[in-house]
Structures are given as C-alpha cells and as structure tokens.
Subunit: 102 residues, 2 copies
C-alpha cells in the first residue's frame, strides 16, 4: 500500500465511516435485519432524530436498505446491502484493535 500520498477513495470511505454513530449502527446491522427500536436499543445516548438522520444517509449511500412490510401496523426493517456487508472486515478489525488496546 502506498502511504506517501493520500487516496481520494480512502478519504471518501473515512468520511462515511467517521460520522458519529455510523460505526455503531453498522455493527448492529451485521447481526441481520433490524427494526428502528432494535438498533436504538443497542446504542446508548443516541436520539431518535440522530438515528433517523443517519439511516437516511446510509440509505442514500447505498449501505443500508429499508424495507416496508405492509402489515397492520406497518413494519419497517433495515438491513445492510452488499456494499454495507462488505464493511465487515473494517468492523472486525476495529473490534480486534479495541479488544487489545482499549
């Protein structure tokens, strides 16, 4: 890997992943499709508005897919797309580093 010059694709990836809560949300979704309250239940101190905003961003970036099930009452689930699932090595390497050094 070339560390002598910054890579725009790396910068763009860091920009996505470096947003507050995003690293936590993606970790939760690696556990499979989740409803809003289930995501929120794993992440302390995150407001509804913040989670709503982040999920919209992640959806527009093609990382998360939102599915509406036309039941009564309506059920909405969030899951990772292929692009989102491909973040698993990132999340796992952060987890490994955290276990060693935090």
């Amino acid at each position: 890997m070339d560390y002598t010059t910054m890579c725009p694709k790396y910068e763009a990836a860091v920009d996505v992943l470096g947003k507050k809560w995003t690293g936590l949300i993606i970790r939760v979704l690696l556990g499979g499709p989740k409803r809003f309250k289930d995501i929120k239940g794993q992440i302390a101190d995150m407001s509804d508005k913040m989670l709503t905003d982040r999920m919209k961003e992640l959806e527009s970036q093609g990382i998360v897919k939102r599915t509406v099930f036309p039941e009564m009452p309506v059920r909405i689930e969030y899951e990772l797309t292929e692009k989102g699932h491909n973040l698993q090595p990132v999340i796992e390497s952060i987890q490994a580093w955290g276990e060693n050094w935090m």
Copy 2:
C-alpha cells in the same frame, strides 16, 4: 463475533477512530515518522490548529509518539507507537472497501 450486544471496547475504539481527520493522520503516519508539515501536506483543508489538537489527543491516547531532536532549529517528529501501528489492518480494510465502493 457477537453482534447482539454492543461492546464497550468497540465503542471506545470507534470513538477514537471516528474523530474527524484521525483516520487520515494515522494513514499518513503508517508511512513512517513525519514532521508536522509533512502530515499537513497530505491532508487538504485541515487547519494547523486542528492538526495540533488531534496530535495532542493521539499522543495522550498512546497512539502517537512525539520526539524532539535538539538541533538548531529544533526538529520535531511524530510516529506511531505499537498501539498506533496495530491500526494498520483497520486502515487497510477501509482502503480496500474504499477502492471497491467509492
């Protein structure tokens, strides 16, 4: 890996890595010891104050080591500690994801 509950060590790691500029600074330092201006030279749009603040944080977190060479004029270099070097798999997995998806 257990995705059903959040891990405090993972949260702490994300808290360190998710700060703006940190992911870029660590990538630069994986290229070896650097002077302030060399780090800044690879990262567009980051102010001197922001880099100074981040380097102090990373030093206090034991991720970066600052060495003063008593020359004239004095020379200051920043390098990754073992804790910092151990972030290489994280940086490389972000790079790989960025190359595939950004």
